[in-house]
Symmetry: C2
């Protein structure tokens, strides 16, 4: 068996042997084996239990043992599904979607515009399906430092991924300072937009906010 835990369902792709797995896609996939379905079920059960407890008593005051008990699994099992407590809140699904969306953009489109569109599109899809859920996670992001910390490292990893993508398209070196500066700046501004959106309880249009954040950069640095 996989050294670190239960092999999470990867129906079609032959990617990494073990990863967090993106629930979004799998929900819509062809019928999975009984085993896989069970795993998804426990995963969701754990997360549901966790969020129930978070709502009651807050994130930091609920222990992993409590969550495991509420979800009726052992603590060991909990950690097999979520290597860290913060992983309950943070989803890694976004990056591959972003990558795909970017690749789908015409090569002659201005770069920043490609990026903007590539970010908005999967964001829309996610929001359509999990609006309230995202809002909840963002609240935790705001309120819990350890979650913020974890998310920010993830964002940095997204940035280096993006650098790879852009390097591919423009021919610039992926680890060049200029590229890295631009990418990290866009990501920072964008996540500020998402944060802002969540502070307004999701009442404003995310795409608008994102565009406005990016065009703010144009105004400030453009001249």
């Amino acid at each position: 068996m996989s050294p670190t835990g239960p092999t999470l369902p990867r129906p079609s792709a032959g990617g990494t042997p073990m990863s967090a797995g993106s629930e979004l896609e799998q929900l819509l996939e062809a019928p999975l084996g009984l085993r896989e379905r069970k795993k998804l079920k426990t995963r969701r059960a754990i997360r549901a239990a966790a969020f129930r407890l978070f709502a009651e008593q807050g994130y930091e005051t609920t222990t992993v043992d409590q969550i495991a008990a509420e979800a009726e699994v052992s603590p060991s099992t909990f950690f097999r599904y979520f290597p860290a407590k913060e992983d309950l809140v943070i989803s890694d699904d976004y990056d591959p979607l972003l990558e795909a969306a970017f690749r789908a953009r015409p090569r002659d489109e201005p770069l920043v515009e490609s990026i903007r569109q590539a970010m908005i599109e999967p964001l829309r899809r996610i929001l359509a399906a999990e609006h309230d859920d995202v809002l909840l996670r963002m609240r935790l992001y705001r309120e819990v430092p350890s979650i913020r910390a974890r998310a920010l490292v993830g964002q940095q990893e997204s940035a280096t991924m993006m650098c790879g993508l852009l390097a591919e398209r423009t021919g610039e070196p992926a680890d060049g300072l200029r590229l890295r500066a631009v990418v990290s700046a866009i990501l920072a501004a964008s996540s500020e937009a998402v944060l802002y959106w969540s502070e307004r309880d999701g009442r404003e249009d995310m795409a608008d906010l994102l565009s406005s954040a990016i065009s703010a950069l144009g105004d400030a640095f453009g001249g």
Copy 2:
């Protein structure tokens, strides 16, 4: 006494009752009381012991207990000086310097230029005094996720501080999306410059790199 630990020396300013304290300034300050000098000494002893051990065995594999032993203090004392292990590596000195440098800038200077200058100036001073030390910390930043995490949260806090400053000067609301987007973008690009600098072992000129990172934003978003 202060609720969280020994009151760290704050010779002149009447700032927060308890904070990490900036060693840089205090080294140059008027003679402190015996008590204060002793505290600085232990603080440095702990840090020195820690970095010695890190060099030998790496960050993650050296325990706080080891560090305390090497520094000849009790573990309790360690935590009084450094609430978290990562605080050994992360310095909070920079923000006040940045703030002061920014305030010293002429009000009619273009905003981005003010920021750039305000960042470079204290950076120069720090590098002049602690070049190798900074390099070492940055290496840990690159190699240890938990340090990166903590540093990034700090960066976000710096950003909201900067937003306050800029809001003061421009009259824009400090929590407006546009301002926040711009500030977080600059900070992201800048820290990318510092990171880049450290990857080159500090051989390139930091001010140049910072300028180049910021002008990259101009190129990307401006035209």
